[in-house]
Amino acid sequence: MDTRRGIAGVDRPALTDLPVLKPVDRRAGAHDPLMVTRWLAGLPAWLPLLLIGGALVWSTVAFAQSDYGYDDATRALWRWVPFLFVSGFLFNILISVLSMSIGTVAGAALGLAQISPNSGIRWLAWTATQMFRNSPWLVILFIVLLAFPFEIVIGDLIISIPDWMKAVFGLSLPIMANISEIVRGAVNSVPTAQWEAAESLSFNRRQILWQIILPQCYKRMLPPWMNWYAILTMATPLCSLLGVEELITLSRQAMEGENNHPELLVPFYTFALVLFFLYCYPIARFTMFLERRYAVKL
């Protein structure tokens, strides 16, 4: 079967006469939760190479308008590359990995609470999900940063909470809410007949959920989960607005160290763009590959 060219029943005609889902018409503007990733993955594979090549070629074209030209600025960038990559970009990755871990665990719990038989728990989980899903990330970050103490004192024990840890927590909240929706949606996407069938075999609710329903959900949840990871990674520079010393904050400080020549702006921010692109692009391609692989073939 050809799995490389789109998804049967979605991008091309169904393989069966009895499709159970209506095909999604993306051109008609149907909702696509993977929109960002699909766009990113849709970029041709030679684009990253072109981007790097372009940056290199551009840097050698010295169109100096004053004593300090773009060639000087690019040389300045090369001096800073090791520091910006190790202390800056790897820190962004660390923030994204930690936020994603916390957000995934909390989001899975919240998502399961959204399908709880208890209507009170369901309502609470729904409210929390909607609240964090529909708030601007920056606002959540500011609230977490300002409302949380910088250290916790328990007797003689002082646990200090650095800003970046607060940022990790702040970013994990919207991720939690979105993962919650993914979990709820994935569980609801399994036909109810399976619940009924399992119940008739005298499985209890917990057994049905853990042994029958959820194992089928993992495959469906993986592409949107990776989609959110890519979005989260691209959102980590938000932390620079809170003074967390990640790539963008350090790039600014590096430009200050190089006397704030305006010529530095393009090379330094291009460097940041290339780093994020090189990290997120393979994730997007892989997500699309998994989506095709795991899609229900109609």
């Binding site: 350090l250 430009m255 200050e256 160290g257 704030n260």
Partner: protein, 278 residues
């Protein structure tokens, strides 16, 4: 059981501290913490060359870091520098994240209410603008209703806006502000006069000038936590600044970091000079 005893002892200690503070006595908490820990944590700038900035290895260096090193050496403790920003430096000191702040802060009345700024001030700078020679600005009044670029967090942004009716466009960094000036998005860039002089003398801004007389000459202040202002730490930092002026150490550092020599440091050195030295 042991835990409970610890908890009770902790609570009692906490109570005693509260009573002490109420009686307006010096508890010297921060000073004692620095001495017992053997390390002083100083908040400095990492985005204000040459006062505090990063070298390409990532280490923070600059004139204020040298001053902080002097403080640590005199105390006989280790130095740890923490990068602060204009927007969070006073909060860091209030929260106890840093013990001392030497971060290019202008000594203002409203800031003295929050942190313990002790004299004599170690430096001063005024406000001025860099603008294209072609515009031929001659007075601050020329800025009225015109866009003027600045850096976020500078106290004089508001003054220039209120006094002369300029429309401040504030950027997060000076590189962005200078690019905007070149792109003619604003008619001038408002900043510290000493910094503008060093930019103009670099020869890369030949078509620009600093046409006005500096205003709001404002001394800079280092700060200790408010509770330490009139106690050991505050008095000690007054002594440090006094001896920096007296020994000419600040003039020496100014030269080391390539800062334009200022009249202020010269007069301070004379004023605090040793009368027996000559």
């Amino acid at each position: 059981m042991k835990k409970i005893v610890c908890l009770v002892a902790g609570l009692a200690a906490g109570l005693m501290v509260t009573v002490g503070a109420h009686a307006q006595q010096c508890t010297n908490d921060v000073w004692n913490k620095v001495m017992s820990r053997g390390k002083v944590v100083v908040g400095v700038k990492a985005d204000y060359k040459p006062w505090g900035y990063r070298d390409s290895s990532g280490a923070i260096v600059g004139m204020e870091i040298d001053m902080a090193q002097d403080v640590a050496d005199t105390l006989g403790v280790e130095l740890e520098v923490v990068a602060v920003q204009s927007s969070n430096r006073m909060q860091f000191l209030e929260q106890g994240k840093i013990d001392l702040m030497i971060a290019t802060m202008s000594d203002r009345a409203d800031r003295r209410e929050i942190v313990g700024i002790v004299g004599p001030n170690y430096y001063t700078s005024g406000t001025n603008i860099m603008s294209p020679k072609a515009l031929g600005l001659t007075a601050w009044e020329d800025l009225r209703d015109k866009p003027v670029c600045g850096k976020q967090g500078a106290f004089y942004n508001q003054i220039v806006e209120e006094r002369y009716g300029a429309q401040i466009v504030a950027f997060t960094g000076n590189a962005e502000a200078k690019q905007a000036l070149r792109d003619k998005k604003c008619i001038a860039w408002v900043y510290d006069d000493s910094s503008i002089v060093s930019d103009l003398s670099s020869g890369e801004y030949d078509e620009f000038e600093m046409p006005l007389a500096s205003e709001d000459d404002n001394p800079w202040g280092l700060a200790v936590p408010k509770a330490e202002e009139n106690c050991v730490f505050g008095r000690f930092m007054s002594g440090m600044q006094y001896s920096w002026h007296r020994s000419g150490r600040l003039i020496e550092l100014e030269a080391k970091w390539g800062i334009q020599p200022t009249e202020y440091l010269k007069t301070q050195a004379e004023r605090h000079g040793d009368w027996l030295a000559n």
